[in-house]
């Protein structure tokens, strides 16, 4: 079943008044349950593609459909709702809220979903247990290592079991061992919970874990590989 489809997707930025075509004519189909990587050199359009799929940005041309719904037709508040319920994000810089503890960061999304406090806490602890980070519950981000923070970010992204998780260079700030463990974790969540993972990376060791890799160059799909 398809979860994401892009059709003739274009994105043009203005860079000091000069138009830059970040994406050109991208046709991409992502199916439920895929563990997909988007690869390419810097400036190839990986982050731009993830932003458009994640309803964080609007295309200059073409369409993005999430579970059959066209994103461009939606209002800002509808897109926020969509992201809340259907999309998890993992960022390169972790982006945890610094004044909240690990467990509070994970609970935050469920708070936005108006979930009762007890249920929020129970689900957060459960997911932290699965990811092996229960001992971090009361720590703030500045008390955790990069790898720990990224695990908390993964927990935050998947705690409400969204259909799809988008991860933009999730291992870029991690050492190779920690990066490996993180990708293993994401694979495990993909297998056990059926969450579709789409992540961008230019690290070949990380790309090896993906079952499908879409290579971008200069804003276009150069090739795809499948395991």
């Amino acid at each position: 079943m398809e979860i994401i489809r892009t059709m003739n997707l274009d994105k043009i930025y203005q860079d000091n008044g000069v138009p830059v075509q970040a994406l050109k004519d991208i046709d991409l189909l992502i199916r439920t349950g895929e563990f997909l990587a988007i690869a390419g050199p810097s400036g190839s359009g990986k982050t731009t593609l993830l932003n458009l799929i994640g309803a964080l940005d609007a295309p200059s041309g073409g369409k993005v459909l999430l579970e059959g719904e066209e994103l461009a037709a939606k209002k800002r508040s509808e897109l926020a709702s969509l992201r809340l319920r259907k999309i998890g994000f993992i960022f390169q810089a972790y982006n945890l809220i610094p004044v909240l503890t690990a467990i509070e960061n994970i609970e935050f999304k469920m708070m936005l979903l108006n979930m009762p406090e007890k249920e929020r806490r129970a689900r957060s602890l459960s997911i932290m247990d699965e990811l092996g980070i229960v001992e971090l519950a009361d720590k703030r981000p500045n008390e955790m290592s990069g790898g720990q923070q990224q695990r908390v970010a993964v927990a935050r992204a998947i705690v409400n079991t969204p259909p799809i998780v988008l991860a933009d260079e999730p291992t870029a700030n991690l050492d190779s061992i920690t990066a490996h463990h993180l990708i293993d974790l994401m694979e495990k969540m993909n297998r056990e919970k059926g969450i579709t993972f789409v992540f961008s990376s230019h690290d070949h060791q990380v790309l090896e874990h993906a079952r499908r890799v879409v290579y971008l160059r200069d804003g276009q799909i150069e090739r795809e590989t499948m395991k």
Binding site: N51, L84, R85
Partner: protein
């Protein structure tokens, strides 16, 4: 959790938040002191006026206040007395003869208001007896007079000296009598001391050929709050031959000062409110700009504009409420000793007596003032947050997340 996040956000930059709080606290202290001092001064002025001579209500023949001639006496004093005794809310009353007179000594003379009083009744209604600083109050014997200390100085007379009072009689002739000064008084108002003299009622009635007629009833109500109601009741009961004037009508100048004072407080609030707003807007804007990436992440997670807006407004509200509470506490700590012991302004007593204020002012903080401050300052904080909050919700998620 949003409240928890908002509270913690305030303390990300402790120094900045403490500076904003300090500004609010200072503003609150100024407001507490201003409100209480102005209220206390004005109450003091009003109490002085009411206590010295005006009373809560005065009753005259209709038209007396427009033309204070001796012929304008109370039509039926017994009737009025009966009504007063039967009206709930009336505490005490005193009968007076009031006329313009010329008082003369060997060396000088001065125009005054000559007031004939029953000493026993009058001391229940006014504080003149308590203001006597030399000699004694009237005992009721004929030819006694008490006058203001500064009037005595002007006339070049002292305790025990004689003065002559001269005034128009009921029949139009000029009446006069000689009086011995038995007491000198000094009230809150130098003008009052210069313009009023008191003699026994009987003496005044004989000197002016009044018989048993009087000019006015001075009435004290049980409480100040009852006065408007009493005013209406007495007018209804006494009918059209009488004028019933409350202190509000008798003291238009002071009432005008009270109204101006309200507007003055409004200006205080405006100034302090503006300073508070600018302080909070500045702090909140800096806080918003420092968190642009974080707001982008919150939007990416699915936080809608309403919640983001509320969070920022909540942060400002916390600053406003906390500053208000601390400021109120500090303000009260400063206010309470003055409330108990008074603020001694005797260095300015000459100027104060000209406007009817006592040298020692007792500030009063009313419940209304406390509520006003408690509501307005946090409200100002909320208003201050609107612009920064609006800036935050206008961020585009993708630009915010990758903001450098």
């Amino acid at each position: 959790m949003l409240a928890k996040l908002a509270w913690r956000n305030i303390w990300r930059n402790k120094r900045r938040s403490l500076i904003v709080l300090a500004a609010i606290v200072v503003g609150m202290v100024v407001l507490v002191f201003s409100e209480s001092f102005i209220a206390g001064s004005l109450k003091g002025m009003l109490d002085n006026q009411i206590g010295s001579h005006t009373s809560h209500i005065q009753i005259h023949r209709k038209g007396f206040s427009d033309n204070k001639i001796i012929q304008s006496t109370i039509p039926n004093a017994s009737f009025v007395e009966g009504v007063l005794q039967g009206t709930p809310g009336v505490l005490r009353h005193s009968k007076r003869v009031v006329t313009y007179a010329l008082i003369s000594s060997a060396s000088n003379s001065s125009g005054v208001s000559l007031v004939g009083v029953d000493p026993a009744q009058e001391q229940q209604v006014s504080k003149i007896q308590a203001s006597v600083v030399q000699g004694s109050y009237l005992s009721g014997k004929d030819h006694e007079i008490i006058l203001g200390k500064n009037l005595a100085e002007r006339l070049g007379v002292a305790l025990g000296d004689k003065v002559v009072a001269m005034a128009s009689m009921l029949d139009g002739h000029v009446g006069s009598d000689v009086f011995r000064i038995v007491g000198l008084f000094e009230t809150f108002s130098s003008d009052f001391d210069r313009l009023y003299v008191f003699i026994p009622t009987g003496n005044a009635q004989r000197m002016l050929g009044l018989g048993d007629q009087i000019s006015e009833f001075a009435v004290l109500a049980q409480t100040m709050e009852l006065v408007p109601q009493l005013d209406v009741m007495l007018e209804r009961e006494l009918g059209g031959s009488y004028e019933v004037l409350s202190y509000r009508e008798l003291l238009p100048a002071i009432m005008a000062i009270l109204d101006v004072a309200d507007e003055a407080m409004g200006i205080y609030y405006l100034i302090i409110g503006a300073a508070t707003i600018f302080g909070i807007v500045n702090a909140m804007l800096m806080s918003v700009f420092e968190r642009i990436r974080e707001f982008g992440v919150l939007m990416a997670m699915g936080m809608k504009n309403g919640k983001l807006f509320s969070m920022i407004v909540l942060e400002a509200s916390y600053l406003g409420v906390l500053g208000m509470l601390i400021g109120m506490g500090v303000g009260l700590a400063i206010y309470l000793p003055f409330w108990k012991y008074g603020l001694d302004l005797s260095a300015f007593s000459e100027g104060l007596t000209m406007v009817g204020m006592s040298a020692v002012v007792y500030p009063i903080l009313t419940v209304g003032a406390v509520i006003r401050m408690a509501v307005i300052i946090p409200l100002v904080a909320v208003v201050a947050a609107l612009y920064p909050a609006t800036k935050a919700i206008r961020l585009q998620p993708v630009r915010a997340i990758y903001y450098v």
